[in-house]
Symmetry: C2
Subunit: 167 residues, 2 copies
């Protein structure tokens, strides 16, 4: 599945915009390298979330730890690196929960969602432009805190996890 | 919460790109009018999904009916219009299930998710550039078909709905 024509309309540091012609239709698409997110549970059976300023939302949001893929980096390697940098968590048992497009109408961002259970606390090393607060939520309180979540990947990830646990 | 400076870097038909300065940091943001999606259940207790070509994903995806908000249009009005146009479904009992950002790291797209139960079939009127196949899934088969879903809003919406139904 390929467009008849495409041109780069704008080049940024995080993403580009391409305009593509598909038959008689033109599509504006945000091209992005892809991302990962992690449902990370620590040894005390607490989900580890991050609260951070999201300029696009003009708000602070409570989210799963997540990050952008580097070119040619394996999604699992990205996820383990991002989790360590953002939260200090390492180790644990890892597996893939789902892979999805975040907004496939106009954004080419594919996201792989991992579950990491039994992770161990260590020292975080966030990027200098990330101001991240860690929020620990006991797994048995997650269901009644769903209404605090305003981020699609986080909602999908927590709901998949609750379903797996039968909660 | 406002940036110190902002400039429009690219203007498209569906979205714009703005570059904002927040203190010492620059943010590239996709500005979008917002969207709606609908968990639509018909009178035979089937979820109505749409399968369509998504150029950004280079694939056909199975998704909740959804659409972009018009300026100043109420999200419920958008949702009822989009559901009727894409699927022909009208009527039923409507309520809001959740509101979330689809990819808040760089996309300013806020989405309102509705549940519409007991909707009635009619004639669809899709946009001329939409080639949409309707897919009806009995509610009691949804849980085992979750692995067919590769779209974040659809995954979140179906999981919220299954949770409400205790399925």
């Amino acid at each position: 599945m390929r467009p008849d024509e495409q041109r780069v309309a704008w080049e940024g540091r995080l993403f580009d915009v391409v305009v593509e012609r598909w038959g008689g239709h033109e599509r504006e698409i945000v091209r992005h390298p892809g991302a990962v997110a992690i449902v990370a549970v620590d040894a005390d059976d607490r989900l580890v979330l991050v609260r951070q300023r999201r300029e696009a939302a003009r708000d602070e949001l409570l989210e799963l730890p997540a990050g952008t893929r580097e070119p040619d980096e394996d999604p699992l390697a990205t996820a383990q690196r991002e989790l360590r940098e953002e939260t200090g968590l390492t180790g644990g048992e890892w597996r893939e929960l789902a892979t999805f497009w975040t907004s496939p109408g106009f954004v080419a961002e594919r996201m792989t969602l991992f579950l990491a259970e039994g992770t161990v606390e260590g020292e975080a090393a966030p990027d200098e432009d990330e101001d991240v607060e860690l929020v620990h939520v006991p797994v048995n309180e997650l269901a009644r805190r769903l209404n605090e979540i305003e981020d699609a990947k986080t909602l999908a990830g927590i709901l998949l996890f609750l379903r797996e646990r039968g909660l």
